[in-house]
Symmetry: C2
Subunit: 414 residues, 2 copies
């Protein structure tokens, strides 16, 4: 079995190891929750301070021009585009993932209602992230469509004449299961439908190829693997073949062809810019840009290789060292079928076990009803962190400390 | 005529004068654009830095609980509620003004379609801010309604049996004209319709009484008179009688009754919380809270008195000292009918005159096609600033320096 010394050796040989210096990691913490909130890049504090004190404080309204605030959604969007296989000027940063999903799913439904009005099904995964399902539920009601929720292995049988839109999160937030974007998009297109992809757990975590997969629409999150900070703005992409087919319904002034003409009639901007809506959140966009830069500093194929090695190692060590402790692997066993996380189910005590780990400084999270979720961010997670995290888990389970009442007190946010 | 010495005396007697110390105002600038972007409060830089370095950087994901991130939309919302005559727990901070307008106008239209389906008109002001008109145009198309744009003195004749929703910005962004919220709401209700108010240029600028006016829905902006920073999040209010009648269509997870149960079906939160959508932008919310606190430090009636005195003085001085220079007052002459701004139209040269003023450090803005717009923020604008701004305007017009080619080069943002 792999030893702690082996892990130290792996770190010593790791070509990505220097990238950890990009981050301000707290002492005494093994952070395995970058899939919920990425850590703080070192560059961010100074950059945000510059925006606050200089661009806002001193230059005030002039910074829309002089500091290029007005171009931030496109500038940061073009950087994210490189991480997800999108072209230049095809992707913008705006709003939240939920709001952007509303925009692209609306557009996809309008396209299908125009081109194939008999198709009435939005197909998604039953365990897709709830906000995606809620937005789809809302739109399906308003568009006279049906939201059909299935298990992953039932998707194929719903790629049929009823399919309007296949809406999936590429990496499942609970299990980390990775969908084959190219194959599922191809099947959806052959069935006559469109695809909408949520990249919340894949952008910045693994190579994504939107154009190569011929995907139709995508959205994604700025505060997970892109390290943009709590509640960072999200992004939205449309394949150019669809971008100008319809208004998206959130027709705000920043999506207008000429916002500063202040005309009373909406005239959508060309291309993806029409997916902008209100005034962009400059402080948050500046922080997001710092986060995206930390990912652009890495080779995405190398990140993926390390990610698979980290999660393989974690699963190997947990299964070997916690055998008989009622932990069941909830992620695919094959690394190629996983995102950058490993989840274990514990039928009775997932919540308190995770709280006990957090009290020891090993930060993962719990996802109801039974999932202990561990995210691995190869930019800053070391092999020795994996070893030490498992050692803490072993101690938590052996000591039974998770039975302490304080670990069963539910917090507002889990 | 009022002299510069008179202005210095007015400042010396001004009980609000100490509040100016709340702000980090740049040297050499007379800032008359707080109606576009409020200035930086002194408290903001340190607070944002605390959020970045400590809450995010050190405490990471735990800050959702330990730093109360999850409650920020309600906490800051309750503070703004005090400024606009809303009750506790009736108002939340979320998204942008445009997105929030989409939510409340959707809700208003759904209510009318349920209660009075023959009513098909959304009535608004032709010179309402464009994003409001674009969102209304988008929703009217999708709901089979008509958007009817009228002049302010034509509103009364459209308070009739066709009226579904009267949607107005309380203070017009170009002219500063102030609508009588209580009277127009009463007339709309008597005609059988609902009202949606945009408080972008009134929240923090003058006393607003949403509950006393019996208004139905409202939205507003965080980065103008609330000093929340560039692109700060916006706010949304519903009268409690409407808050739970319908889903709003942007049914994201933060508007769910129990987001951390991660259920696959949407169950809207009670009250205004269902108007939340995605994950809240924490950095921007923290900055907004600092801005709102600067306004809460003042008595709103005293702010309004000073605001009226500032704009009266500006108009008096411009009309006296720039007579014969083709500047026409574009704001109501009666202070009681104005918000906290004064606008002048110049048929030929509004843009270069404003650029020449900005080059001198007198920052207002230009609104196409012909408006020079000057915002007065009594929290930090002094009477002597008014005098000095007019002196610069006199010099710009007398010297003809605005004819220099550099002042005619249009920037991306005006």
């Amino acid at each position: 079995m792999t030893t702690r010394q082996d892990c130290l050796s792996l770190d010593a040989q790791d070509p990505l190891a220097p990238l950890r210096d990009q981050f301000a990691l707290p002492e005494g913490v093994i952070y395995l929750d970058g899939n919920s909130l990425g850590v703080l890049p070192r560059a961010t504090a100074a950059r945000v301070q510059q925006v606050v004190a200089h661009e806002w404080g001193t230059d005030l309204i002039r910074s829309w021009n002089t500091a290029g605030w007005i171009d931030l959604p496109q500038r940061v969007g073009n950087k994210i585009a490189k991480l997800v296989g999108a072209g230049e000027h095809e992707l913008v940063v705006a709003d939240s993932t939920s709001v952007n999903l509303f925009k692209v799913l609306s557009a996809a439904l309008r396209i299908m209602q125009a081109d194939a009005p008999t198709r009435k099904c939005i197909v998604s995964e039953r365990s897709n992230f709830p906000t995606d399902l809620y937005i789809a539920e809302s739109l399906s009601r308003d568009h006279g469509m049906r939201l059909v929720l299935v298990e992953p292995d039932e998707i194929a049988q719903h790629q049929n004449a009823d399919l309007a839109v296949l809406m999936l999160t590429q990496v499942n937030y609970r299990t980390g299961r990775l969908h084959d974007m190219a194959a599922l998009t191809k099947a959806a297109h052959e069935a006559g439908g469109l695809t909408v992809w949520d990249l919340a757990h894949s952008a910045g975590a693994l190579p994504v190829d939107l154009r190569g997969s011929e995907a139709d629409f995508a959205v994604g999150c700025g505060y997970k693997y892109l390290n943009g900070g709590p509640g960072a703005p999200a992004f939205v992409w449309s394949h150019p073949r669809h971008a100008e087919r319809f208004w998206q319904p959130l027709a705000g002034w920043m999506g207008h062809a000429a916002p500063f003409e202040f005309t009373s009639n909406y005239r959508p901007a060309p291309g993806i810019a029409r997916y902008l809506c209100g005034t962009p959140p400059v402080l948050s966009l500046a922080a997001l840009e710092c986060g995206v830069d930390t990912v652009l500093a890495a080779d995405m194929q190398a990140l993926r290789r390390k990610s698979m090695a980290l999660t393989d190692l974690f699963i190997e060590l947990v299964e070997a060292r916690c055998a008989g402790r009622d932990l069941q692997l909830a992620s695919p066993r094959q690394a190629a079928q996983r995102g950058s996380q490993a989840s274990f189910a514990h039928a009775d005590a997932g919540y308190p076990i995770m709280q006990a780990l957090i009290a020891r400084g090993v930060i993962g999270d719990f996802r109801a009803p039974d999932i202990l979720r561990f995210g691995f961010t190869p930019l800053y997670t070391r092999f020795v962190d994996v070893w030490d995290a498992v050692e803490h888990l072993v101690q938590v389970l052996q000591s039974g400390e998770w039975r302490e009442p304080r670990f069963n007190q539910r917090a507002a946010v889990t």
